[in-house]
């Protein structure tokens, strides 16, 4: 009888399984991405390396010495560490983060716009207390511009009523408002000394959400050549909630990570963060193999650093707020080893 090994599921639970079952999960995971994304599956030697990582009985694993990469941390800090600036300082001094990110708990550019002067004060204080780069981050969050929260029509209600033209018009109107808000907030935080701006979960509300992000990035790059600009995606495929939107001739609906990277680069970002969502019913091994397969085409094409999103519910990680370190270290090492990432 084959020896039992322990493995994590995508919901974070620990299960007893076997090396051959993990091997099958890895093969199924890469095939799932290859089929969905019309991509090349991982090679045999890559799957063998992943099998060694995920079938290991050790509690923790890591990359080889010398292979370390930059960790750009979104939403840095936690309430137990004191004020937001205290938390950033602890992340620098105690937790050894490569970068930190000041953020508001209502993680949306539209929401932050109303409290910008206070965020600027926190940024100024952060810059005076920290040496590592301090970014400011929030989400484009286009849905906030639709009724009843915002002034535009609600495309989620219009689409089921088959009011396609009205739904598209509402999204186009929302894009204009979102671009203005994102540029305003980003420039305000830049004025307060921020090292960079993070647009987190771009495309979460579909192709219009991504278009708004790209246009904001383009405007910021034109005015601030030294601004660090990071665009982190929401998912492996951009939803076509509008369907016809293009950026410099590229249709945004349906873009996969390599296509997302291309438009993000064109817009002028300096870091791209692909995201591949986790299936909580499958193992972490299955999810990691699937995520790596989706991101792999980015690596040869990238002209800017690729910092893959490997946080809660993305990049193979469990959909669980209190992540087990065995799962995190395995996914972390697997992504860096196979993809030769620039960061996480």
């Amino acid at each position: 009888m084959e020896p039992q090994v322990l493995a994590r599921m995508g919901d974070g639970s620990l299960v007893e399984t076997t090396r051959s079952r993990i091997q099958a999960d890895l093969e199924e995971g890469t095939q799932a991405a290859a089929s969905r994304g019309k991509l090349e599956p991982l090679a045999a030697d890559e799957l063998e390396h992943l099998l060694d990582i995920f079938a290991s009985p050790t509690r923790f694993t890591g990359v080889e010495i010398g292979d370390e990469v930059v960790l750009s941390k979104d939403g840095s800090g936690t309430p137990q560490l004191g004020s937001r600036v205290d938390a950033l300082y602890a992340c620098e001094q105690v937790l050894a983060h490569d970068t930190v990110e000041l953020f508001h708990i209502d993680y949306s550019y539209k929401a932050v716009k109303t409290v910008v002067p206070f965020e600027q004060q926190f940024m100024k204080e952060s810059q005076e207390r920290l040496t590592v780069p301090v970014h400011y981050g929030a989400q484009p969050d286009l849905g906030r511009y639709s009724a009843p929260d915002g002034p535009c029509g609600n495309w989620s209600e219009l689409l089921p009523e088959m009011k396609i033209d009205e739904a598209r018009a509402a999204q186009e109107e929302a894009v204009e408002l979102a671009v203005d808000d994102m540029v305003y907030v980003a420039e305000s935080l830049w004025d307060a000394g921020a090292d960079g701006i993070n647009f987190d979960t771009a495309g979460a509300a579909g192709d219009a959400d991504l278009l708004a992000t790209l246009r904001a990035v383009e405007a910021l790059r034109a005015r601030h050549p030294d601004m660090g600009i990071m665009v982190g995606m929401a998912a492996e495929i951009v939803l076509g909630t509008h369907g016809l939107l293009e950026y410099r001739g590229t249709r945004l609906a349906g873009l996969k990570p390599a296509g997302q990277l291309a438009v993000v680069q064109q817009a002028g970002a300096t870091v791209f963060g692909p995201a591949v969502n986790t299936n909580a019913s499958r193992s972490v091994a299955w999810n990691t193999a699937r995520a790596i397969t989706f991101v792999k085409p980015c690596m040869a094409a990238a002209e800017i650093p690729v910092h893959m999103n490997v946080g809660m519910g993305v990049g193979g990680m469990p959909m669980y707020a209190f992540a087990p370190i065995d799962a995190v270290s395995r996914a972390s090492r697997a992504c860096v080893d196979i993809l030769r990432l620039d960061g996480l």
Binding site: I65, S72, P133, D226, P305, I325, G343
Partner: protein, 117 residues
């Protein structure tokens, strides 16, 4: 935070101010350099190997010598180390890179007639 941030940091991170992860991050964020190029650039500027950049022992002493800021603990006393803004000024000079907060400090000093070195 323990599970996610600390685990990533230990498994694959460059360890920021504890080593030289912040310097490599600055070349990525500001110049869009990929990891190999960014590590090579920073290593050349510091006169070390790329592998040294993640070695906290090698970098701790060097950061002290070059006044680039460093971590401290209960057993250490670095009262004469630079403030974060001064440290970032040294980092900017060393990397040949504009750092936003330092540029704003320079403008503030210049506006009151003080030199900026």
């Amino acid at each position: 935070m323990f599970g996610m941030d600390v685990a990533h940091s230990c498994a694959s991170g460059m360890n920021g101010l504890r080593a030289a992860g912040d310097l490599v991050a600055r070349m990525q964020m500001t110049k869009g350099m990929r990891i190999v190029e960014a590590k090579r650039f920073v290593a050349e500027r510091l006169g070390v190997t790329a592998r040294d950049l993640s070695d906290n022992l090698a970098m701790h002493e060097l950061r002290g010598e070059l006044r680039m800021g460093r971590v401290f603990e209960t057993e250490s006393s670095y009262y004469a180390d630079p403030s974060p803004l001064e440290a970032k000024w040294h980092i900017a000079d060393l990397l040949g890179l504009p750092i936003n907060s330092v540029e704003r400090l320079k403008k503030g000093l210049a506006s009151t007639g003080r030199g900026t070195g």
